[in-house]
Subunit: 212 residues, 2 copies
DNA sequence: CGCGCAGTACTGGACAGTCTAGTTTGATCG
DNA sequence: CGATCAAACTAGACTGTCCAGTACTGCGCG
């Protein structure tokens, strides 16, 4: 109890390796990262790396998969019960701001760049990222859109189409800028909130009741 | 006159190298492409490759730069005189469909994936792609938006903001799907046209005159 | 004690870039 | 037309380095 500090030795090593792998793969890419470098940064011997993860490819797949799943969970747990009043635009703006706050971080953006660059080599990882990211967000949004429509607050005949439209109205510009311009081009929180509000305003103008 | 076939020998070799470089870099990435492989596919000796382009890095930069510039030119030459009537939505839908047709091709998408994956190694190439792609399109669109507004056909107080909004309304969904799901996920022409029309409809609902 | 780890050397192969020696090409001129 | 010549090209060996993965020896933690 005095010696073991919360975690088994093996588990600590394993996490050290994953932490180093995250740093190196996100910075240098798959081919640009060497296992020697990785062992050194992990402060672990190469043997230990291979004992925990059988190969470079396995390590890469495991790391990216877990990061993808974790990033997807970030957005998931939100109470959708706040939509009782009629402030659709406000609700959507808040949702969009939250989504942007999760996605527009160096970690997530680097992961996305890495996966996009490796689409040909690891198509399954890219598909997993797509499903855990945009697709999941859109599915969840579509439920909200349908609810708003049922209550007569919105005219979204096709909830998935509406959700897709709103999602990319929100994410399109900042995401694509960040992909190419690097992490320094990430807007600050205030700018993201302004953008979220703008997107919600445009969306409600097109899908609000009584407009069309 | 009978011997030289249109192009000098040197020029033919040069183009063969660039063609092979395009195929290999777009498929395997920068680090994933070897100069031996490239020389073989070019049907040229390695010496010739190094005679034409001093290094792997130079060749890569030159190839990507020229592809970026060429792709940017594709959209540029359009007669904007067709907007005399009041059919704003129709005009924007046509513009969007054209833009999508240029961008949603395997060649351009692979280039984009390649550049995104190499942002850390070659930030200048990524910036050039951004400026020749989205930024250029948005600047040109902003002019159109301002004209429409002057004629009372649109209420775009901030033409750049309006152009940015429309641009990503159009490009966001298909672009981001294609980035992660690969070239097989590129929608067909009909689907792209439908999407373009949808984007124009949403945009006009938000920015059209008399709505807000 | 014994398992898992450190440290490190090693294998086999790949890769960027250079070097050398010989060959082809195409223009020029007698 | 044919000889000549320089530039460009070929083929492949070669250097120095790096890398994924393995083998082995000893050591310290539990």
């Amino acid at each position: 109890m005095a010696t073991t500090n919360e975690l088994s030795r093996s588990e600590r090593k394993r996490r050290a390796i994953l932490a180093a792998a995250e740093a190196l793969f996100l910075r240098n890419g798959y081919l640009g990262t060497s296992m020697d470098e990785l062992a050194e940064l992990s402060e672990v011997s190469k043997q230990t790396v291979y004992a925990h993860f059988g190969s470079k490819e396995s390590l890469f797949v495991e790391l990216v998969s877990s990061m993808t799943a974790a990033a997807g969970d970030g957005l998931h747990d939100r109470d959708e019960r706040a939509a009782l009043d009629g402030d659709v635009a406000g609700h959507l703006a808040r949702y969009a701001a939250d989504e942007l706050a999760v996605v527009m971080t160096p970690r997530v953006l680097k992961l996305r760049r890495l996966v996009i660059g490796e689409v040909e080599r690891f198509p399954d990882l890219a598909r997993a990222l797509y499903e855990n990211g945009p697709e999941r967000a859109i599915r969840s949004l579509a439920v909200t859109m349908a609810e708003f429509t049922d209550r007569g607050l919105l005219a979204a005949d096709d909830p998935v189409e509406a959700a897709t439209t709103f999602n990319w109205l929100v994410m399109g510009a900042p995401m694509n800028e960040a992909m190419l311009l690097g992490d320094e081009a990430i807007p600050d929180v205030a700018a993201l909130q302004r953008h979220a509000a703008h997107a919600a305003r445009v969306f409600v103008a097109a899908y609000g009741v009584g407009v069309r």
